[in-house]
């Protein structure tokens, strides 16, 4: 297993993931997805989390988001660690809404996912389970990386921001990858 470290990554990869594109792939493509692909964990930084008793609604709202298997609130860190069901993905916008409805302010979203590197309309993307594509935005060496790793299964960790990728509507999340490794 090859691990591309932070330095290597910063030098050669400015890999941005442009949101969650809930794009249904053809059934045949979905059926070909390797097992175990999907999001592994999403960590939401939650500001204002200084009233633990008030966090009851936050936890409940996060649990109601589709595909959520587990929620852990780390009050001292101001983090909500959300684990999806195996082989599924979470809608990042739904997580943010859940935090807001729960009474707090969502900040950055750290995503850990396992998927197959692919391409959509010339942009790098991560193919997750059930036809879900996690788009990788153009930029830096990401296209080159995609060329060298296309079709391989990788594990990425990235931090979401809400930059609006040009020409891509409705999924205003961009993830800056902090670690990247081949996952076989």
């Amino acid at each position: 297993m090859e691990i591309i470290g932070m330095t290597h990554l910063k030098t050669f990869v400015t890999l941005s993931l442009a949101g969650l594109l809930l794009l249904s792939l053809p059934q045949a493509a979905a059926a070909q997805a390797a097992p175990g692909l999907g999001m592994l964990e999403v960590i939401v930084r939650v500001d204002g989390l200084s009233c633990p008793f008030c966090a009851y609604g936050l936890e409940k709202n996060l649990r109601k988001v589709d595909n959520v298997a587990r929620v852990e609130l780390r009050v001292d860190q101001g983090r909500a660690v959300v684990t999806p069901k195996h082989g599924t993905s979470l809608e990042l916008g739904a997580l943010e809404r859940a935090v807001r409805d729960g009474g707090f302010t969502p900040r950055e979203l750290s995503v850990t996912a396992r998927g197959r590197l692919t391409e959509l309309n010339g942009a790098p993307a991560l193919e997750l389970s059930n036809g879900v594509l996690l788009l990788l935005a153009r930029g830096g060496q990401s296209n080159a990386l995609l060329e060298s790793s296309r079709g391989t299964v990788v594990r990425v960790e990235g931090v979401a921001s809400q930059d609006q990728p040009k020409g891509h509507n409705g999924h205003p999340y961009t993830l800056t990858v902090s670690s990247f490794e081949a996952a076989g």
Binding site: S50, C51, P52, F53, R74, G103
Partner: protein
Amino acid sequence: MTSTLAGYVRVASRRFAGGVGMIGLLAVWPAPAAAQGPPINTDNAFVTGLNGAGFRTFFVTFDRNDLRLDGKKIDDPLDRRVRIRGQTFVLPYELVPNRLVVMGVLPYLDKALEMGASGNRQRVSVNGFGDLALAAKLGIYQSDRPNRTTRAALFGRLKLPTGPEDAVGPSGQPIPKALQLGTGSVDSSAGVVVTHSVGPLGLGAAAAYDFNTESDDFAFGDVLHYDVALGYRILPPIYRTYPAKQVNLYVEANGAWSRRDTLAGSRVPESGGWLFFLSPGIQFIPWASFLVEATYQVPVWQDLNGAQLGFEPRLKIGLRWLMY
């Protein structure tokens, strides 16, 4: 001044509140929307945590014993003693997530007046549900940063005359207004609350004004409330993973200023005034959705108009349960 309970009730029933007054009844009303978190007596600006129905109830007990005039105890030939016990039930509902909470508040009251010379004490008491109040709290400001938050909310309350107001004493005359379970009037309140919380420390301030209306030629005086609360989480020292057992300590200052009651358009001299409690309290949260709390309110300052019964310390014990 008459020396018998029947005579006293007969005289006091419509003339005035019998030296008790609306200001003495405030303890049975909760902070208008405090079902989702601390502090105990002061409202907070959170409007969260209640996607379903929450429930709060507390028991409060206090007495009014010594007759006071201009802030000093004076001899009371009737040796009047008023005892009030209340169990208040609050059912909130988060109508708009993180924005608007509405709720119903209903107290069950047990009030008693005892007076007369030793060996010839007479007593009149009533018990039952008091007036139903409908309340709402609207979040208007929220600034969140890591491990801290500052919030503000407006709140209002409409109290309906659902409680009985026709209880009579031994003579068959209605007992004093302040001893009735209901006021007979439609009253409203409006206020603002600010909460600032940093880690284990919480600060809160609230102010509200009660607009009391007339019923049967009588109106309790309007009341201005002002509350300040300081809370500190002593356990756990570092709150890591939610939920964890939690203990909070509080010190609150709870004040009220009441205008004089009015009878047939005239001010009642022996009513209204200033009242100020210092209220230490403790709160234990054993589970994510449940807490118990207690506070002991000491009347450190009471400047009541005319001759009125003074306030003894108030004890409040309650629980909050978030039901989903």
